[in-house]
Symmetry: C4
Subunit: 279 residues, 4 copies
């Protein structure tokens, strides 16, 4: 079917299939290698922050970061070249994440000693979400996302109520407890209310007066009950899904516009009409 | 249809529609402006409580509070004038909240240095609940309220059980642990039981004896299991809603009696029979 | 219908109806008075434990406890006399609770200074559960009990798993962390595991080594997930109830054998065949 | 039916029925005795770790451990002999647990003073899971396992998201808070994030800066909401089970290959075709 296409197009299509999809053996191996590389890169960032480790292996860590940066650079260029609309890719969410994953070492020459680069290196972890392309994971992740998405209005109302309650209770506690107990300002009071209402309970700020402790007890029981609300919302969503949901998923991605979620037997992209690689 | 009504009535109806409803563009802009004003006012209260900030910007904060107070005063008068039964508004829940939102600065001349005024200023936040008139939020908030309302007997039985358990366990722990561990009275024992049963766990009071720690472990596992009860109750309610509920909501409010929750095509108030502004 | 019964039987039946049931106005007033008395009695116990309060009002608290004891004694005798099988009442659960509620002051002459008497006085609170006879509460309490009862095997398996996990993890943590971190014995390790797994997290014992903290993190995520199990069990039970449950409840209690849960129009006790007071 | 089988086979079959099944009175008594022995053995391990107890009763604890070891050795040999394919048993999960339960004391001669032996002794507790053969527990345990197993993909996606979030938030907090607050490395930051997100909240590491506390508050509300997800997943699973599940369980185990979960009236093993002991 594709005999009449020239070699370059074929080569590009092949590369696209390997990099962006996971239906072929090469595509799967590429993904596994990339997952390994990302995990190694994250482990290096984590270990580098442990002082005793960094002192001993600083040189090795530095070389390893260079190797990872070069491999990521190659991958970024390949992604850029193998797609028909490269600019669309560059400005997509994952396009930006890919770029950020590649550049920290280059940036360190421009902004030496910048701490923010460590965070950018940690962001590499986000790339895993895209590579997680095994069919059943996609299906379940989509279900999870849909359950949360369907509940978004309920959850917004819920969080809004929590925030309003926190501000009012935080203000009251600031007035009752005052500075001796650590409630030095209203923001600290709000911080304490959230710690208490979510049942985290660090114990770095605790009420000392009888009235404050009584209100604290009420806030705790309230928080303990409030947790029922998001849980109930999401449970009901999941139950609904169990009943009505049918999923068909594959890892096809359009070589032209990179649209996903194609039907199982789709031959052309539903978004741009481009011919899809055969699954 | 309204040609025969005189200018004043029209003006009053118009004002009512802008202030109390959100179906017209003007109504929406009024609401957005009010939300902004309330948020700014709350942020000022919060910042004022931060000592270093208050020292530097005390003058600005004072002026800003005056501006907000004047705007709220104008709004309160407009609300009062545009409604047919102003006294009903004044003594309604939101009527009182609106008044409380307006007066803290005036009160500070009568009761100088009163700390309670800060709480009254924080109460302004409650006004947001009324303005949140976007149709889908109203629907979801109503569902949330209904699920909680339907579960009220179950939740009462549940909280009652928690309280009885807390008093008995608190008394036992007071006798076992005594003063060294911080259990200086039965109320402190009850406070500790609630902290533990709700899984908050500050750690400001902890059992020190082997027997006390054993009881604590049992209370924890119990509390961990008890949380299943309100969650189960609310989940089942939500599921029921998903199945049977149909909502029709709009932001109509009767210009005469301010009743809400009118049907979508209602022309007359179901409560007082007054003519409704057209949606 | 009861003309042929003699006066004494009638008087006894009347007393039974007042004390044990809540269908008549007198029965309701009796219950409300009793609830008030129990609450006052508990508040006295709690206040007595607050040292500063006890110093000031010791005499008043003592007199009040005498009054309550005398009223409870009269009530106990009335309960004893008005029932056909008094011994069955004496050895029933609430019969024992009633007796324990009455005797602490009498016992204090035999065992002076005994601390355990305070717990016995706190047990009075359990009496509230019986008096809570308003029809809708009975129905909901029964539903709650039934949901928990239906889940008993699942919950047993669940708690068993928690306990086994706690012992094994507690042993491992005792070996890893040792005495410096507060893990001075395996029981302390188990105590820590329960504190962590139930997400209480006092912070009185915390791991200090890297390995210990890694295991702690795993235990936390595990505990966070484990909470889903009892919640899921109970939610499913409640949902089932919503679907299939029909409740008919009243507060009838047989004057002969005190059996409860009679049908709404029952004239004779399903347990002993005795004639029931008319509702 | 079994007249033509020789004595030895009969004896072996009888022993198999007693040890591996719980349908006969002897089988039940064997199980109860074994449960008792395991519990005593665990209590000894726990008590031995309490220093004051060990000092006083060291000799008794040592003798008791010898008795338990000998009884477990006899049981292990009996299990080995009474089964047709002993090697399959030896390398099965419970075969290994049984062996580990038997050998700690023998190992202590080869590796004197080894602490790891205590953990191996604690592992004996795992044996309880096999002995818990009462029919209804098996059914419920199987339901629990099935609900968790059906949710495995959803739970994997969920834990994966938690881990990725923890690493990124942990890195950010390490940069914001730094060493003074205890965030001495990224692993410590991740440890703090898990403590906070699971609402455990030890309070051994807490943010001190305003920015850090703001992020902490967001993490708490997030974690508080996230708990809804596994709960919702498992609730929906349980509800599905309530609707469709029918269980038939018995404690039959094939004397040849030890396969379980036979149908109620099965006469031959579904796995190896061997004749099953009559229930």
């Amino acid at each position: 079917m594709r005999e009449n296409k020239d070699y370059f197009i074929n080569w590009k299509a092949k590369l696209h299939e390997i990099i962006y999809e996971a239906d072929t053996p090469e595509g799967k191996w590429f993904d596994i290698a990339l997952i390994g590389l990302i995990l190694i890169s994250i482990i290096l960032v984590v270990l580098e922050s442990v002082e005793s480790f960094d002192h001993q292996f600083h040189q090795i860590l530095y070389v390893a970061e260079w190797i990872i940066t070069i491999l990521f650079s190659i991958e970024y260029i390949a992604r850029f070249l193998s797609i028909n609309k490269p600019l669309k890719y560059v400005f997509s969410f994952y396009g930006i994440v890919d770029l950020l994953s590649t550049i920290p070492l280059y940036l360190s020459f421009i902004f030496p000693g910048s701490q923010v680069l460590i965070v950018i290196r940690a962001i590499r972890l986000l790339r895993l979400f895209r590579i997680l392309k095994m069919v059943k994971f996609i299906g379940e992740a989509r279900k999870l996302k849909e359950a949360l998405w369907n509940s978004r209005t309920k959850i917004t109302v819920f969080i809004f109520t929590i925030v309003v309650l926190s501000v009012i209770i935080g203000t009251v506690m600031y007035l009752i407890e005052g500075k001796e107990a650590g409630f030095i300002s209203i923001p600290k009071g709000i911080y304490w209310t959230i710690i208490t209402m979510t049942t985290v309970g660090y114990g770095d700020i605790v009420p000392l007066t009888a009235l404050g402790q009584t209100i604290a007890a009420i806030v705790m029981v309230m928080g303990y009950g409030i947790i029922a609300v998001p849980t109930g919302i999401v449970s009901a969503e999941f139950y609904k899904q169990n009943k009505f949901y049918k999923i068909h998923t594959n890892t096809q991605a359009c070589p032209n516009c990179n649209a996903q979620n194609h039907n199982d037997h789709a031959k052309f992209c539903y978004n741009c009409g481009n011919y899809l690689n055969e699954a």
